[in-house]
């Protein structure tokens, strides 16, 4: 590619033609603040925070939008630039409610940080403030437009990355607000609850519904037996909330923290990820052997994805695996097998899960998710709520020793860990399905083709019975949509498809710690760092097949019989139905 030479604050730099000024500056360690820009998602150039001076240009230039030219001289920190940025911030603050003390994003707010850096300490402009009612119509998130700065990052994520388009910018001028068609609340739109908008929001205009009080109430109730289970992705995310570098695995400390909170049992949802593979793998083998079965079969672990297919492709729901997600299997096993084995009344059991996911809050209240007669899972909180809970209880993760999950449900195979990253369910399933059909365990375990961050990945596996299983993996719903269109037009050649609603999979779920755009826009890929932590765990593990997990063997021997048994179907499987939304 053609190279371009320029100077940023007098420092020479050479970059590819077409590079944004912002990125060229970063290359020589010059940071330019942004608000509306989100790498690979949106650069409308609407907020004007990233303006710079370009020698010879009449006006200030938006560096997130403008690209480099040969011989360009860029100045990012002149008094003119700084004054412009400060005015921009003051104007944004002029109609912002500025209730920072009680804001969920306080100390992690991009606007607050910039206001501090630029010394916006007084109301220079007192604008007309809109008073919007909160949209808390749904069980997973709240929109507070009084804090919204109209950067439209949430809109871009919803539209381009997820292809859901539940929200957009409506009206004009001072009346502009982010909302839905005809002012409908979010629960009446096609919103799938993925929560990616929350992660895109630079301020506190979008945040998860907080269920931490419910958790503490259950723990403090002496009549309740409170069990907690954690998803694979939580342990490689929660550390960030306590200052650990992105992608640090803090499983041991996390388990200790959960015990200190007062849970009666601390288990790992990994175990039921293994169980999911046993059931889903069996279902796949059955479908492969049945000429009339619906293929491709599609995974059903991601509740954002389930909401999406039920809303946008209801005619394809027969392709979904009937397996409950690992979270729901976890709750179901707790209130049936575990309750029976240890003689606990399931009515007294409260199952809490900690998930990287906001859509899980919609999953726990779905139909056919109460195997024991009581809801499989009672309360689910996100990684962020978990961090909030720990901080409120003055539990500092950094000061804790490591400890291990409780037996017997504590053990998961490392294949179960892989559920946290895109391609992980597929890899775990292929290991078990191929080993089952071949009658012996695979020697080569790593399915590198289904790893990584390409939007749609494909692979094929030749089995000993002569069948070649063709699989595809998609993450983010715009990619899922492409595969659904293939199925609709009959051009889909796969037997098995894994879909995770969030870009990068659960490690980047809508409930994970929020990473500021200054990092998202740099060369750091949060998704890859968190996923690597999971793959490293797998590499070092002794049990790398779901079917070799001793807990799984016990479960089938003592309770379920075999995968796909009548009992397994009653407790571990579910159903789907079309959702009619705007």
């Amino acid at each position: 590619m053609k190279q371009v030479n320029l100077k940023v604050n007098g420092i020479p730099v050479t970059v590819d033609a077409g590079t944004r000024i912002l990125d060229a500056a970063r290359k020589v360690g010059v940071n330019i603040p942004t608000l509306c820009y989100l790498k690979d998602v949106t650069n409308e150039g609407s907020c004007r925070m990233c303006v710079v001076e370009v020698v010879g240009a009449k006006n200030l230039v938006t560096s997130c939008f403008a690209t480099v030219r040969e011989g360009m001289e860029v100045i990012t920190n002149s008094p003119k630039v700084l004054a412009s940025r400060k005015t921009t911030l003051e104007l944004i603050l002029s109609n912002h409610d500025q209730k920072c003390l009680s804001c969920v994003r306080s100390t992690n707010c991009e606007l607050q940080k910039l206001a501090l850096e630029y010394g916006c300490d007084s109301y220079r402009f007192e604008g007309v403030k809109n008073h919007y009612p909160l949209d808390d119509s749904n069980p997973y998130l709240i929109r507070d437009n009084n804090k919204c700065i109209l950067c439209r990052r949430c809109v871009a994520v919803c539209n381009k990355v997820q292809s859901v388009s539940a929200i957009g910018a409506n009206n004009r001028g001072f009346k502009t607000e982010i909302g839905s068609v005809f002012g409908h609340k979010l629960d009446e739109t096609g919103c799938v609850a993925c929560g990616q908008c929350i992660k895109a929001c630079p301020v506190g205009a979008l945040y998860e519904k907080d269920d931490t009080d419910k958790v503490m109430k259950a723990i403090l109730d002496p009549d309740k037996y409170v069990i907690v289970g954690t998803a694979p992705a939580v342990r490689v995310g929660i550390g960030e909330e306590f200052g650990y570098p992105i992608g640090t695995d803090v499983e041991g400390k996390m388990v200790t923290a959960l015990r200190r909170l007062g849970f009666d049992k601390v288990f790992d949802v990994n175990m039921t990820a293994d169980l999911t593979i046993m059931e889903e793998g069996n279902e796949l083998i059955e479908r492969l052997n049945d000429k009339n079965a619906k293929l491709p079969m599609i995974t059903s672990c991601s509740p954002g994805w389930i909401n999406f297919i039920e809303t946008f492709y209801p005619e394809l729901i027969d392709h979904l695996s009937s397996c409950k997600s690992p979270q729901q299997m976890f709750g179901a096993v707790m209130k049936t097998y575990y309750a029976e084995k240890f003689g606990i009344d399931p009515a007294k059991i409260v199952v809490v899960t900690i998930m990287p996911c906001t859509a899980k809050k919609t999953e726990v209240i779905r139909d056919h998710q109460s195997a024991s007669g009581y809801p499989d899972v009672d309360i689910t909180i996100t990684t962020r709520e978990f961090a909030r809970l720990l901080k409120r209880q003055s539990i500092d993760l950094t000061n804790l020793e490591n400890s291990e999950f409780d037996d017997p449900i504590g053990k998961g195979s490392s294949a179960g860990y892989l559920f946290g990253a895109t391609g992980g369910v597929m890899e775990a399933a292929l290991r078990t399905v191929a080993s089952t059909i071949n009658g012996k365990n695979l020697e080569k375990l790593d399915f590198k083709k289904v790893r990584g961050l390409d939007g749609i990945k494909e692979a094929s596996v030749k089995l000993d019975n002569g069948l070649t299983v063709r699989v595809a993996v998609a993450h983010s719903l715009s990619n899922a949509r492409k595969l659904m269109e293939q199925i609709k037009t009959g051009s889909c050649k796969y037997h098995f498809i894994e879909i995770m609603a969030c870009p990068g999979g659960c490690v980047n779920g809508g409930g994970q710690p929020i990473v500021p755009s200054s990092i998202l826009n740099s060369d750091v890929d949060v998704r890859a760092l968190r996923a690597n932590a999971i793959y490293n765990k797998d590499k070092k593990s002794e049990i790398r097949f779901c079917h070799e997990n001793p807990v799984i063997k016990t479960l089938y021997n003592e309770y379920f019989g075999k995968p796909g048994s009548h009992k397994a179907h009653e407790i571990l499987h579910t159903s789907y139905k079309p959702q009619h939304k705007l």
Binding site: N159, S165, A166, I167, G168, A169, N170, N171, R172, S180, V181, F182, T189, L582
Partner: protein, 160 residues
């Protein structure tokens, strides 16, 4: 508003023809919205949903555009569209008083439609006939050099 939506078979057919005409024309969303408004007089959600499907755009985008531009109505319009020009020349020549009188007469605020669906009142920007200021338009017909006393005669023409 949407539960009131009624259409004639002709309107439905006309809209389908618009979609046929604009099929494969890139960037035709605005055009489709304008033509739909010509047909129905406003853009109810049912029509926006059809436009969205035909133009392969999210319905939220259609709604965002409809609420951004003043040319689009998202509520049904009255039989007669009354526009009072509040451009500089008209305003200086007293169109503010005319607007107040019309508001009293029709019992509606600008941007709204009377309950009997007869009149929709708009306060407009300059409509380009400042020589006749102050000016009022009713369904495109221009009434100029107005004084409040003229209103009785003018509205009598529309059965009021």
């Amino acid at each position: 508003m949407s539960n009131q939506f009624r259409e004639t078979p002709q309107q439905k057919k006309q809209l389908e023809n618009v979609f046929k005409e604009l099929k494969n024309v890139p960037g035709s969303l605005m055009k489709a919205m304008q033509k739909a408004q010509d047909i129905y007089g406003y853009l109810p959600i049912e029509v926006m949903q059809r436009i969205a499907a035909a133009c392969n755009a999210p319905v939220e985008e259609v709604y965002g555009i409809a609420t951004f531009y003043a040319q689009f109505n998202i509520e049904p319009m009255g039989k007669y569209k009354v526009g009072i020009c509040l451009g500089t020349a008209c305003y200086v020549k007293g169109s503010g008083v005319i607007l107040d009188k019309v508001k009293e007469r029709l019992h509606i605020e600008p941007g709204h439609t009377s309950e009997d669906m007869k009149y929709t009142l708009e306060a407009t920007r300059c409509i380009g006939c400042c020589g006749l200021a102050p000016v009022m338009t009713i369904n495109g017909e221009v009434h100029g050099n107005l004084v409040p006393a003229d209103l009785d005669k003018i509205f009598a023409k529309y059965g009021d």
